[in-house]
């Protein structure tokens, strides 16, 4: 449980960090909260020669409102997300779901950006980002660029980030007025990743669905947006039967990996359960 030797770097600015990543090449890894990377290093599954610690770059943390945008610094910790008044008012899905991530100690260190940039389909923020139509701000040697969440997650541990890119911020819009939301996560115990989880954001207009997002965690190589399931509900007055149909559409696109949490059949069935429950809860909160 002890990693091999590595060099530790602690840049003070994003530019300095990008410079380090550029000069050190693929042997360098960014250290954010460290709660995925450090365990892998202790097990010697990951053996980076350089760690670039971005914890002391102040502009990477915190939540601010810029025009219509809500900008969440990539190094904002899960506990900061949970406590943030702006997010609780405008994007309440994020603080509520963050409470289901790991445990309080991990949430003191773990960051929203680290959770997203790791590209692990078991992490919760990728599906949440899809549900919130988030846009990632990425800074590389050529400067900053914007990548929508829908184009960010490319595969397991594989994102649109290059080796010398840093994810600096996640930008979301406030939920539509009266939107309901839910994140249902089945897990074996505190601290575990999801066996299956589903995020739902729904808004109603005159009793029928005017906005809907249904996204899934740990049910495929990346977080998944269930477009077909959304289509079942979109524009409809939702009934129990439609919720079931939506769940079936969501289950149809699941491609989970078998592990100690369960086999493919179980995880797919649990996806159906989580989708149904998340839709029902989100609807009960919408007005």
């Amino acid at each position: 449980m002890i990693p091999p030797n590595f060099e530790y770097h602690r840049p003070a600015t994003v530019d300095e960090a990008v410079g380090l990543l550029t000069s050190l090449g693929s042997e360098a890894k960014i250290l954010a909260g460290g709660h995925s990377l450090l365990p892998m290093m202790k097990l010697r599954f990951a053996m980076p020669e350089h760690l670039v610690d971005i914890n002391r770059i102040p502009e990477l943390s915190g939540v601010s409102v810029v025009g219509d945008d809500i900008v969440i610094g990539a190094m904002t910790t899960e506990n900061a997300v949970i406590a943030d008044p702006i997010l609780n008012e405008k994007v309440p899905l994020l603080p509520e779901a963050a409470k289901l991530i790991a445990d309080p100690q991990v949430r003191n260190r773990g960051t929203i950006g680290g959770d997203i940039a790791h590209g692990d389909p078991a992490n919760d923020h990728p599906a949440l980002a899809l549900a919130c139509d988030a846009v990632m701000t990425v800074v590389g040697p050529e400067g900053a660029r914007q990548i929508p969440a829908s184009e960010f997650f490319l595969g397991t541990y594989w994102t649109a980030l290059n080796d010398d890119d840093i994810l600096t911020a996640i930008t979301v819009k406030a939920f539509p007025n009266g939107a309901g939301f839910s994140y249902r996560k089945l897990k074996r115990k505190t601290g575990d990743w999801a066996t299956a989880a589903c995020a739902v954001v729904v808004a109603l207009s005159g009793g029928s669905v005017s906005h809907i997002r249904i996204t899934l965690t740990n049910l495929g190589p990346t977080a998944i947006r269930a477009h077909d399931a959304e289509a079942v509900l979109s524009g409809q007055t939702v009934t129990d039967e439609l919720i079931k149909q939506a769940a079936e559409k969501a289950m149809a696109i699941c491609d989970p990996a078998e592990d100690l949490r369960g086999d493919v059949e179980y995880k797919t069935a649990m996806a159906g359960q989580m989708v149904q429950r998340a839709i029902a809860e989100a609807l009960s909160r919408a007005n």
Binding site: I2, P4, L186, G262, Y266, A269, R277
Partner: protein, 803 residues
């Protein structure tokens, strides 16, 4: 001016003696982070040891290349079995009469087995050196299933035992067979089964689990080459036994071996045995002449140190049509892993499993346990239970439920009908145990009333009638008897040393005291509760009584703490030692008061002259006099030692009740209610008892609902971190309700029976009873643990009731 005279009630309260919920004396240091654990020990010049382990479960070692590791600056040594051979330390005896490899000798027998050690300046260098040791293996066929291990053409696992047809417990019938042990009367049981109107049978697996204490194992060995003395701080539940073993293995006289168990972060049976890591650290310290520290990590602890359970059991009950149990037969195949390293009293290779007739009056019974080698880690320890009692209680409680279902008799009613009656105590079981005391029926009715059993059954029926109910509801009931306090030396020994325990008490001139014990606390709160026994016996406030354990150079010899033996055995030694002091104090009091002993009465903290209330001497007065002016013919001083050999085990019991709601969509189970009534005889500290019960129930919950060590067919342990191995947090843990009755042990000096393990032993079958009950209306009689959501969902699907 005289201080105001205190009332007897005030004096009694000041003692904080037996029955007082005084706060734990240990907690002040623990909650401030001031505990002193093995890994906190740092000695000048200390080196660090780390272990090279086998990645495969069965294989022949072709070559071990040390050069690259030795070339790393700061590496002092790399040792393998070949290096230990000249010292004859490459194998070591186990507590069960087998031998275990210290470092793998020619073959590896389980994944993560110890193959080589490295010694380095610090643990970081040591970890790098471990990676640099190259071991070449020839893989051999792996045997993970104990039934497959006994097939005629099964691979030979223990080549070192070739030709050894006589084991420590009788003949070996097969190359992977360790022993077959039987108890009870087979002919009598067969007769009953042949003529019984009803018989039921059930196969069940008690899966392999790991005690997983928060603190992993480790030691700091320090050999002083000039004095020839070996001091070792060690995570041990039995430091004196370790001292004896270390002396035997190392050749260092026992008088020059000092084992110190410092603060221990939980044991639960995992820290009873002697592990290769300890032996290697000690050898390294002797060879290098420097202190050597070894600290396990979590993966090493779960993968390689002692497991518990792994019993494949077939139970059979014979009964009348109206549910009176007539006979019990049990056949067990016990997977002991690569070496038989069970920690049991020598004569009992299956521990006290023959308590499996439980709380029931059964006239004929027989059990047979077959121990088998497989390619898994050795162990078979009592995980928060007396030796194999958890398995026994699980078996009988499951079987009684199975019988009740077959006969369509309520599970409470069938227990009422078969429980041993109060007037039958002392009761001799068909396996020869003499149950000391019990009042099972009173306790059962108390619990059923408290939970309103009838109303719960009515609610359950409604749910069963409603196909749209989102949940299944199950009710679990268990009426268990433990057997603890090992044990009478005529029956129980470890490595030939009788399982007595000991206490030495010294009263200081100013009336405070120190007590030293052969046991060692690992969270039980001995420093708190032991003092309370002395306080009540001698009238000295608990607050001024120091309790010391764990240092073999100062404590009297004892067999340690496991199997709920501390209070039944050492607690009795305390009372007996105190009574020796009490007797001497009385002589001194009589001398001081110038009366005869027969004129004195004892009251709380003093001897009084009968009929003359004003004439008295407190224990503090007497203590001073013992050092200043003892009566003629009496030695000065006021101290005593007692080695207590219990005349019998003690038999705590309990009635546990559980209501579970199962989500038909996800298979998740929610423990709505868990009601635990325990009878541990005399209660020393009710708060600590409650804490012990909460802890035991929580560990029982863990075992029943999630703790299983899953292996693949190649022998890889799939869940060896706390991400997969289930340690419940406060979020998962149900809210516990506790209750009690008091039926003192008639043979114990203070009537106490022991309690820490009852909640573990009793709760596990209660959870299973509840989960199975949720499916009982579908004809399901048994479901193996662990009751994870995934497994329960599969059952829901199998029965066609999933949402």
């Amino acid at each position: 001016m005289n201080a105001p005279v205190k009332t007897p009630e005030e004096r009694q309260a000041e003692l904080q003696g037996m029955g007082d919920s005084r706060l734990r004396k240990e907690d002040a240091r623990f909650i401030q982070g001031k505990g002193q654990y093995c890994d906190d020990i740092k000695l000048p010049g200390m080196l660090h040891m780390d272990i090279v382990r086998s990645p495969i479960a069965h294989g022949r070692i072709k070559n071990i290349k040390k050069d690259d590791a030795l070339a790393i600056p700061g590496v002092h040594a790399v040792l393998t079995a070949d290096d230990l051979k000249p010292l004859n330390l490459h194998w070591m005896p186990t507590l069960a009469g087998d031998v275990a490899a210290v470092l793998a000798d020619e073959k590896v027998h389980f994944q993560m087995q110890e193959v080589a050690i490295v010694i380095a300046d610090d643990r970081y260098i040591a970890a790098d050196a471990v990676e640099a040791v190259e071991v070449e293996y020839e893989e051999l066929p792996v045997v993970m299933d104990p039934y497959a291990a006994l097939e005629a053409d099964a691979p030979v696992l223990r080549e070192d035992l070739a030709g050894k047809n006589e084991g420590a417990h009788g003949p070996r019938e097969h190359h992977n067979h360790i022993f077959t042990w039987e108890a009870g009367d087979k002919a009598a049981a067969d007769d009953v089964f042949a003529s019984a109107p009803v018989t039921v049978s059930q196969h069940m697996l008690y899966p392999r689990v790991h005690p997983c204490p928060l603190e992993t194992c480790g030691c700091v060995a320090s050999f002083d080459p000039i004095k020839g003395e070996l001091t070792t701080w060690m995570t041990s539940q039995a430091p004196h036994v370790v001292r004896t073993v270390v002396s035997m293995l190392s050749g260092v006289p026992e008088s020059k071996v000092r084992i110190i168990s410092p603060d221990i972060g939980g044991g639960f049976g995992n820290k009873v045995g002697v592990y290769p890591g300890y032996v290697c650290a000690i050898v390294s310290s002797i060879v290098l002449g420097k202190p050597v520290k070894w600290s396990e990590d979590r993966i090493e602890n779960i993968s390689s140190t002692a497991f518990a359970r792994d019993y494949h059991m077939d139970g059979h009950l014979a009964a009348t049509e109206d549910g009176k149990i007539l006979g019990l037969k049990v056949d067990v195949v016990a997977d002991h892993g690569a070496f038989d390293a069970c920690a049991d009293p020598t004569k009992f290779p299956a521990g006290l499993f023959h308590i499996c007739s439980g709380s029931y009056d059964i006239s004929a019974a027989h059990c047979s346990v077959k121990g088998v080698y497989t390619n898994k880690a050795p162990g078979g320890v009592a995980y928060r239970c007396s030796f194999r009692v958890t398995e026994a209680v699980y078996l009988i409680e499951r079987m009684v439920d199975v019988l009740a279902q077959k006969l369509d008799i309520d599970k409470a009613e069938i227990r009422r009908k078969n429980l041993i009656r109060k007037d039958q105590f002392p009761y001799t079981s068909p396996f020869g145990f003499e149950y000391d005391s019990g009042d099972y029926h009173t306790a059962l009715e108390k619990v059923l009333d408290a939970v309103d059993y009838k109303a719960l059954r009515a609610e359950q029926q409604e749910k069963r009638n409603d196909p749209d109910s989102p949940t299944l509801m199950g009710i679990g009931l268990v009426t268990f008897t433990e057997v603890v306090g090992a044990g009478p030396t005529k029956m129980c020994d470890i490595l030939g040393v009788g399982m007595f325990d000991s206490c030495e008490i010294r009263i200081h001139p100013t009336g405070s005291a120190i007590a030293r014990m052969g046991t060692i606390t690992q969270g039980q709160g001995h420093q708190t509760t032991y003092a309370q026994i002395i306080a009540s016996e001698l009238g000295i406030p608990s607050e001024v009584i120091q309790v010391e354990e764990g240092d073999t150079s100062t404590a009297p010899y004892g067999l340690g703490t496991y199997g709920s033996r501390s209070t039944p055995v050492a607690g009795a030694a305390i009372a007996m030692a105190a009574r020796k002091i009490h007797a001497k104090a009385k002589k001194i009091a009589a001398h001081l008061l110038e009366v005869s002993e027969s004129d004195l009465d004892w009251e709380i903290d003093r001897f009084k002259v009968r009929g003359n209330e004003d004439q008295f001497k407190t224990m503090a007065d007497i203590a001073f006099a013992a050092y200043q002016q003892p009566p003629e013919g009496l030695e000065p001083g006021l101290e005593a030692v007692h080695y207590y050999d219990p005349p019998n085990f003690t038999y705590p019991f309990g009635i546990y009740f559980c209501v579970v709601d199962i989500d038909k969509g996800t298979g998740e189970s929610s423990i709505r209610r868990f009601y635990a009534l325990d009878d541990c005889g005399t209660r020393i500290n009710p708060m600590i008892i409650d804490g012990q019960i909460h802890g035991g129930l929580t560990e029982g919950f863990a075992v029943a609902m999630g703790q299983q060590m899953p292996f693949d067919e190649q022998g890889n342990l799939l869940g060896n971190t706390l991400m997969d191995y289930f340690l419940p947090t406060a979020v998962e843990t149900p809210a516990w309700e506790t209750d009690y009755t008091v039926t003192p042990s008639p043979h114990h000096p203070i009537g106490a029976k022991g309690v820490a393990e009852s909640p573990h032993v009793g709760s596990i079958p209660t959870f299973t009873s509840a989960v199975v009950d949720a499916f009982a209306h579908l004809g399901v009689t048994h479901i193996d643990m662990p009751h994870t959501s995934y497994r329960i969902w599969k059952k829901l699907k199998e029965e066609g009731v999933q949402l």
